[in-house]
Symmetry: C2
C-alpha cells in the first residue's frame, strides 16, 4: 500500500500543536518530519547521538542541515549508551531507548511542545508483535505499540505519538523518493547481532512465505488487541476505583461487598494489580492462587503477600504490614484523657466529656455501642489514662464482681484478630482497667444510683480523616 | 518436560464420569486413552474413519483391538470427508473435523457420556496459535484451544475436553514407550500439503532457532489470552443482559440509560455482538463507525444496519425492520371496540369501559395522560372503531371547533418517528376521527355538562406481556 501524501489516512493530531519530532535521519523519521511540516505543524526537530558508531555525528549534522532547510529549530544531545547499559544492566537497545526518550521529553518540556512524535511504522509494529509472540507474551506484549501513549517514566502529561504506524516501511521510502529526500542509512539496521534486525531481515521474509501480507496482518492484530487491552484495563481500573478503600506501602484494602459483585476474573486482575503495585519486582503470581483468592477466601499469593478478611474489608497484604483498622481503634503511646477530641491516627478519634449523671444509668446499661462508655467520674479522681494492651492484663468485668479475667482470654473468646491485640486500647484509672473499648467495661467503675457525675468516652472512626 | 504418569498435572475432570474418548490410534490419543483408563474413568472408545487414505481401516481395527484389550466398549463410523468438503465448500481439514465431532458427540449422547475427550497437546496448541498469528487474528483466534468448551453446533451440554493440553508431543511419545504402547503413525501427518503440517515440520523448527522453548511459550500465551478472552466475553455478556431490552430477527433494542453507564469500549462490543447476531455472515464492521455509535449518536454501521434512538431506547436495526415501540402503540387490522381488554401485540393493550359521566368533565380536561381519553358515549351510537392512520386523515381537534387539520401535519409537529406513523392508531365513530391517541382528541366527541355516559379508552404498555 504505497500512499501518496494525498491519500494518507488523516492524522489523529490536533491541528497547530507544537510537536517535538525525534529524527535520526533515516527514511522513517525523515518522512515523518517532512510530512508533519507539509501539514503546517509547528515543529522542534530533536536528534539524539547514541555514540554507538563512527558515522553518528555525520547523521546528526545531516538532520541539523535538513531542519535548517525547512527553517525549523533543531536540538541535539548525546550520551554514552554503552556505559549506561553496563551501569543499569540493560541491553544496548534498552539503554539507547531510555536515554533517547529522556532527551526527547526533556526538550519537549523545555519547548512547551504538546507531543513527542516518532517515526515507527507498521513494519516496526510487526517486528514488535513478532518479538513478543516469540517470547510467549500475553495481551500487554502482543498488542504492540499504541499510536498514542503517556509514558509516566518520561513525562506524566506529554504523550508519545506514532503518526506513521499505518505506513509500511516501503511507504516511507516511496515518500522520500517522491519528495527527493535522501535519508541516511544506519548500517546497524542490518546488523543481525541485534535480535530485532534478525526478525526484520531473516524471520519476517520466511513468514511471508506463509502469508505474503504478514506485516499488515500483524499490524492489524496489534490494533484489535490494543482495543481489547485498553478496554480490559479500563474495566479493571473502574473496578479498582470502586472497590479499593485504602492502601499503603504494604497493603491494599478492598471493600468485600464490592468485590462480591464483580466478575471473579475481574477480582483476579485486581489482586494481580495490587500484588504488582506492592511488589513491583514480582516475576509472576501463581494463577491458581489468584483464582482461589478471587473466591474471597484467605490465600497465600506470592512474594510474602496474602489475602486476609476482616469485617467488611479484604486486605491484600504482607505478613508484616501494619494495617489500619476501620472496625477497631488502635493506640500507640499512652496518654491522659482530657475533655474534647483526640486524634488516634488512621481515621480514629477519642472524645471525652464530663456531664451530670441524671438518667444515664439506664442508658449506660442498655448501650449497644461497644465503643462508647460512661464511667463514674467520682471514682476517677486519679485521672483517666489510655494505653495499649499489655500482656498479662487482667480486670474485673461488669456483672462479675470480685472475679478477674485475663484480657488475652477475652480476645480469644471474642475472636479479635491477632494483629489488632498488641495495640488494643484500654482505659485505666491509675493501674486499674476501667474499660476495654469494644469488649467490656469494668465492674468497679460502673455508674450507680449514687453517681452524680459521669465521663462519657467515645471512640469513633471517620472515613477520610487522618 | 517429559512427564512420568506420577508427576502429571492433576486432571480437571470429575472422578468417575463417563468419557467418550476420540481415538485415532496415534501417540496422542493412544496415550490419552491409556492414561484416562489408568485413572479408572469409565470410557467409551470412539474412532472415526475419514476414508482419506488406504490404511485408515487398519488404524480403526488397531484401535478396536486396543480397546478390547483394555475391556472397553468401542464404536466407529465413517463418512466421505472429501465429498462433504466439496458439498459444503470446506477444506478437507474442516470437513474432517466437522464429521468427526458430529460422530463423537452423537456417540456421547447415545452412551450418556458426560464429556468428549480428545488428545490435543501443547504442540497442537502452539500450531493453532501460530496459524492464527500468521493470519493476523485477534484475541479469539490467538487464545488457541481451550481445555474445556461447549460447542453448541455439536452439543449444547456435553463439553469437549482436552486433558493433554499441557503435555508436549514428546510427552505422549514418551508415555507410549513407557507403557509399551505401539501407536499407529498417520502418514498424512507429514504431508506438507496441509498448512498445519507445514507449520509443524517447517516453520516451528525455524522459530525454535529464535526461542528453543517456542512451543511452551506459545502454549503459555494461549493460556493467558484465554483468560483475558473469557473475562472480556463474560463482561460483555453481563453488559448485554443488563442493557438489552428486546430483540428480533431485524433489531436489538438497548436501554439507553444503561448504555450511558458503560465504558464506551464495552458499548462498542455490544453493538458489534448485536450486528453479528443480526448478520451472521457479516465480514467486518468499520471500527470508526462502531466508535461513533458508542457515543450513542445514530450511525450507519454495516450490512444495512444502523443505530437509532427512540425515547429511552437505542435500536440497532435494519432500515426495513418493523420495530416494536414501548412508547407509542401501533395497530394493524381495524376492529370494533368492545368493553374489556384487547391485546394489540408487542406488549400493548387497549381497555374500554363505559361509565357514568359524573365529575369526569374536569378530569378529562386536565388529563395529562395522552394515552387515555373519555369520549361522550351518546355520540358513539354507531360504535367505536380502532384503525391505523390513513394518508389524508383529517380531523377537528379539541379546542378548534369547525377547523380541521391534517393528521400528517400533527405527526410532523409532534416529531413522531416516521416509522411509527403508518400504524398509528386512530379511534373513529363511523368515518369520523374521535381521538388520535398520544396526540389529540377531536372537538365533536368531547364530554360536556350534558354528557351522561362516557367511554373511557386506555392504551397501555406492559413490559413482558405480548
Amino acid at each position: 500500500m504505497i500512499m501518496a501524501a494525498a491519500n494518507l489516512p488523516p492524522l489523529d493530531l490536533q491541528p497547530g500543536i507544537l510537536i517535538t519530532a525525534g529524527v535520526s535521519g533515516g527514511p522513517d523519521s525523515l518522512a515523518l518530519l517532512h510530512y508533519l511540516h507539509s501539514l503546517h505543524y509547528p515543529l522542534l526537530v530533536a536528534s539524539f547521538n547514541h555514540r554507538l558508531r563512527p558515522g553518528a555525528e555525520t547523521d546528526i549534522n545531516f538532520v541539523r542541515a535538513f531542519a535548517a532547510s525547512l527553517g525549523l529549530p533543531f536540538v541535539t544531545d548525546s550520551a554514552d549508551v554503552a556505559a549506561h547499559a553496563a551501569a543499569q544492566g540493560l541491553s544496548i537497545e534498552e539503554a539507547a531507548r531510555e536515554l533517547r526518550y529522556q532527551f526527547l521529553f526533556r526538550e519537549a518540556r523545555k519547548a512547551g511542545a504538546q507531543v513527542v512524535a516518532v517515526g515507527h511504522t507498521a513494519d516496526d509494529q510487526a517486528e514488535t508483535v513478532l518479538m513478543h509472540f516469540l517470547r510467549g507474551s500475553g495481551l500487554s506484549g502482543l498488542k504492540g505499540m499504541p499510536a498514542r501513549i503517556i509514558l509516566p517514566v518520561f513525562d506524566a502529561e506529554i504523550p508519545l505519538v506514532r503518526p506513521l504506524l499505518n505506513w509500511t516501511r516501503s511507504d516511507t521510502e516511496a515518500y522520500c523518493r517522491q519528495h527527493a529526500l535522501e535519508p541516511r542509512i544506519d548500517p546497524t539496521n542490518t546488523d543481525t547481532h541485534y535480535f530485532r534486525n534478525r526478525l526484520r531481515h531473516e524471520l519476517l521474509p520466511i513468514l511471508e512465505q506463509y502469508n505474503p501480507q504478514i506485516r499488515q496482518s500483524l499490524a492489524r492484530s496489534a490494533q484489535t488487541l490494543q482495543r481489547d487491552y485498553t478496554l480490559l484495563n479500563s474495566l479493571i481500573e473502574t473496578a479498582w476505583q470502586k472497590t479499593v478503600r485504602s492502601s499503603g506501602p504494604e497493603f491494599v484494602e478492598f471493600e468485600r461487598a464490592g468485590l462480591e459483585k464483580l466478575d471473579p476474573g475481574l477480582t483476579r486482575n485486581l489482586f494481580r494489580k495490587a500484588a504488582f503495585e506492592l511488589r513491583p519486582g514480582l516475576r509472576d503470581i501463581d494463577f491458581e492462587a489468584l483464582e482461589r483468592a478471587a473466591t474471597l477466601k484467605p490465600v497465600d499469593l506470592a512474594g510474602g503477600l496474602k489475602t486476609y478478611l476482616e469485617g467488611d474489608s479484604l486486605y491484600l497484604t504482607s505478613d508484616t504490614a501494619s494495617l489500619p483498622s476501620t472496625v477497631w481503634p488502635q493506640i500507640s503511646a499512652p496518654f491522659s484523657l482530657l475533655a474534647g477530641r483526640t486524634a488516634l491516627g488512621n481515621g480514629w478519634f477519642l472524645t471525652c466529656q464530663e456531664m451530670n449523671a441524671d438518667n444515664l444509668q439506664a442508658v449506660a446499661r442498655s448501650n449497644p455501642d461497644k465503643l462508647t462508655a460512661w464511667l463514674a467520674a467520682e471514682l476517677n479522681t486519679g485521672g483517666l489514662q489510655a494505653r495499649a494492651y499489655r500482656s498479662g492484663d487482667r480486670f474485673e468485668p461488669l456483672g462479675m464482681p470480685h472475679q478477674t479475667i485475663k484480657l488475652a482470654e477475652l480476645f480469644i473468646n471474642q475472636k479479635i484478630p491477632q494483629r489488632l491485640r498488641r495495640a488494643w486500647p484500654v482505659i485505666c484509672v491509675s493501674d486499674e482497667i476501667a474499660w476495654v473499648p469494644g469488649l467490656r467495661q469494668a465492674e468497679p467503675f460502673k455508674i450507680t444510683e449514687k453517681t452524680l457525675r459521669v465521663v462519657k468516652i467515645e471512640f469513633k472512626y471517620e472515613a477520610g480523616q487522618v
